[in-house]
């Protein structure tokens, strides 16, 4: 029996009691090239040793500022970019060690929704073709009629009229296009979806429609989400747990409620205090932590804690060694900080 088939057989030991997804030491570096010979002169440490786990049916929110590596992390899990090292264990099997055939089967289990519904839909395909394509690729519906039936079902699921299948993406508004993006992700009947900034490009009045749709679909199909966004208000609303990233590292992880009520890492604290609350009475009396400077470079990250160059609590120790995520542990609330917030 080929090695791959053996591994697949042993994987059946996974049960829903264990996390559906476990990421261990995930690392994705991109080479920085320079000169006529394009020699590698450095590495962008986009994702640098991340451990995370998600239980089935839950939403893990992933927040951080632009360039912190949160999108690269999402794409590394799906192998849309190849990670440099680490393990991505999905339902008991390491995705990163799968051969092409197993990976192809795995792609039916995992899907992604992108930020920009304008760029992620092929303008020359009708909505029906866009939604039928994954069905064809994965041989999920044999006949054309069966595929058409499934396309109508998918459109209905995301709140669009089944009669829209003959139309092209440009005929739809931003919110409708994002619904099409969601329908495409659902086409293969996945159990895990990476939602990469799914509402950031939408008008404020449309965002809530899409968030509610994602929540309804999660309940209906017991979906597991990795929800990546920079808007902490949205992430707090939709997530069970939240992980905060800074320059390639997870610096804090906890339940959504606890993270908001008792942030431990100074970066999380300043991130929370920077988010405007739409209520003048609250907003004008808030204590703000205004950070100095800009996000550190992932090419030459600072020694020790990567946040120390902007941190208001930094001590000499922070430059000497890097605090692991388990430095502070309060139940399942972890923070990578030697001098956490009170």
């Amino acid at each position: 029996m080929p090695a791959e088939a053996l591994r697949e057989r042993s994987a059946s030991t996974w049960t829903a009691a264990a996390p559906i997804l476990e990421i261990r030491g995930l690392t994705t570096w991109f080479p920085v090239r320079s000169g006529v010979l394009a020699r590698t002169v450095g590495q962008v440490r986009a994702v640098d040793g991340v451990n995370l786990s998600i239980r089935q049916g839950e939403t893990l929110g992933l927040v951080g500022e632009s360039g912190c590596g949160k999108s690269t992390l999402g794409r590394s899990i799906l192998r849309l970019v190849e990670p440099t090292a680490g393990e991505v264990v999905f339902k008991g099997r390491d995705v990163l060690r799968m051969g092409p055939a197993a990976m192809r089967r795995m792609r039916r289990e995992m899907a992604i929704i992108f930020q920009d519904p304008f760029a992620s839909l092929d303008p020359r395909q009708t909505v029906g073709d866009i939604l039928a394509e994954p069905l064809e690729i994965h041989h999920l519906r044999r006949t054309r009629r069966q595929r058409q039936e499934r396309v109508r079902e998918l459109l209905d699921l995301v709140g669009l009229s089944p009669d829209f299948s003959g139309r092209y993406p440009h005929e739809f508004s931003g919110g409708q296009r994002q619904r099409i993006g969601i329908a495409r992700a659902l086409a293969v009947d996945p159990s895990f979806i990476v939602c990469d900034e799914p509402v950031s490009a939408l008008d404020v009045s449309i965002q809530a429609q899409i968030i509610n749709l994602l929540e309804r679909l999660q309940d209906q199909f017991n979906l597991t989400y990795l929800f990546i966004a920079h808007d902490l208000s949205v992430v707090k609303h939709i997530s069970d747990h939240i992980a905060v990233m800074y320059v390639g590292k997870v610096v804090e992880i906890s339940t959504a409620k606890e993270l908001y009520q008792r942030p431990l890492h100074p970066y999380t604290g300043s991130l929370l205090s920077a988010i405007p609350i739409p209520d003048p009475a609250v907003e004008r009396n808030r204590e703000r932590i205004i950070l100095k400077g800009d996000v550190a470079s992932p090419v030459n990250p600072p020694s020790g804690c990567r946040f120390r160059t902007r941190c208001f609590k930094a001590q000499p120790r922070c430059a000497e060694s890097e605090p692991p995520l388990e430095t502070v542990r309060l139940g399942d609330h972890l923070a990578a900080c030697y001098f956490p917030l009170e």
Binding site: V204, A208, P276, I277, P278, V282, E283, D294
Partner: protein, 331 residues
Amino acid sequence: MHLLELDDVHTNLTLKAGVVRAVDGVSFHIDAGETLGIVGESGSGKSMTALSIMRLLPSSGRITSGAIRFKGRDMTGLSEDEMEDIRGTEIAMIFQDPMSSLNPVYRTGWQVGEPLQIHRGVNARASIAAAIALFKKVGIPDAEKRVAQYPHVFSGGMSQRAMIAMGLTTSPSLLIADEPTTALDVTIQAQILELLRNLNRDSGMATILITHNLGVVAGICDRVIVMYAGRVVEQGRTEDVFAHPEHPYTWSLLRSIPRLDADEREPLKPIEGLPPDMMRLPSGCKFGPRCPFAIKRCAEEEPELLLVRDQLARCWVTQAGTSLRESADAG
């Protein structure tokens, strides 16, 4: 006399597909030292209002009627030279994307000091010295070194600071900021908002802040204007508009956004339907088709912007004395 006053301004965009009434009868004013927020979604006319004030409309755009008075003088009839003078000295505008507003082939210090050379007859050396002082004022570290650098080495937050510095060069009495923090990360957004707050307090400069972010408005604006389909639908003091919105659009918008300080996770209450198609606006109230409070009259006649409690609102329902909150609780 107000610092700036718009009186029934209409701006049309003539496109291939037809004429869009991008700004459709907008009136408001702003005084020295005030911060006025203009909120609305894409296509609501908030940016076109700002570009009408600056006379920086795209070639398809034209102000068809109304007056825009700055210090009592109607600017709609001014020549391009006269406008140029006002833009350089009295009214400054900063944009969402600072990277595309800075010229990549000139040193930042030169660009920031240039208005002084053009409008105040200052020499190059003195304009660079002024740029250094401005960089310090807007919180750019190593100002002496930074003025000699080109824009591409500036981060997003630094570019926006440089843009603001450029806007402040000639100490304008009005700053128009169009989504100045939308392209920035939240921690950098907080820095820029703090800067705008301090500038406003220290210099008495008036600021018009255009944004889609209601949280930003709550934190920094004295008064707020809510726009929908090219119209002002609500206008008032920020506390009043947020405490008891009198237009159903404002009311729905405030209920549809997740709040960081919300206790429990309850489903959001989205605004149904789609933003209006500016080519095919509905009759009557433009928000009518999406409005949970709409009555028969709303589809027939468009309401005026009238006083409701402490603010102005363009709504038949609240003008008749109905409370949106009570009506929603009852329904």
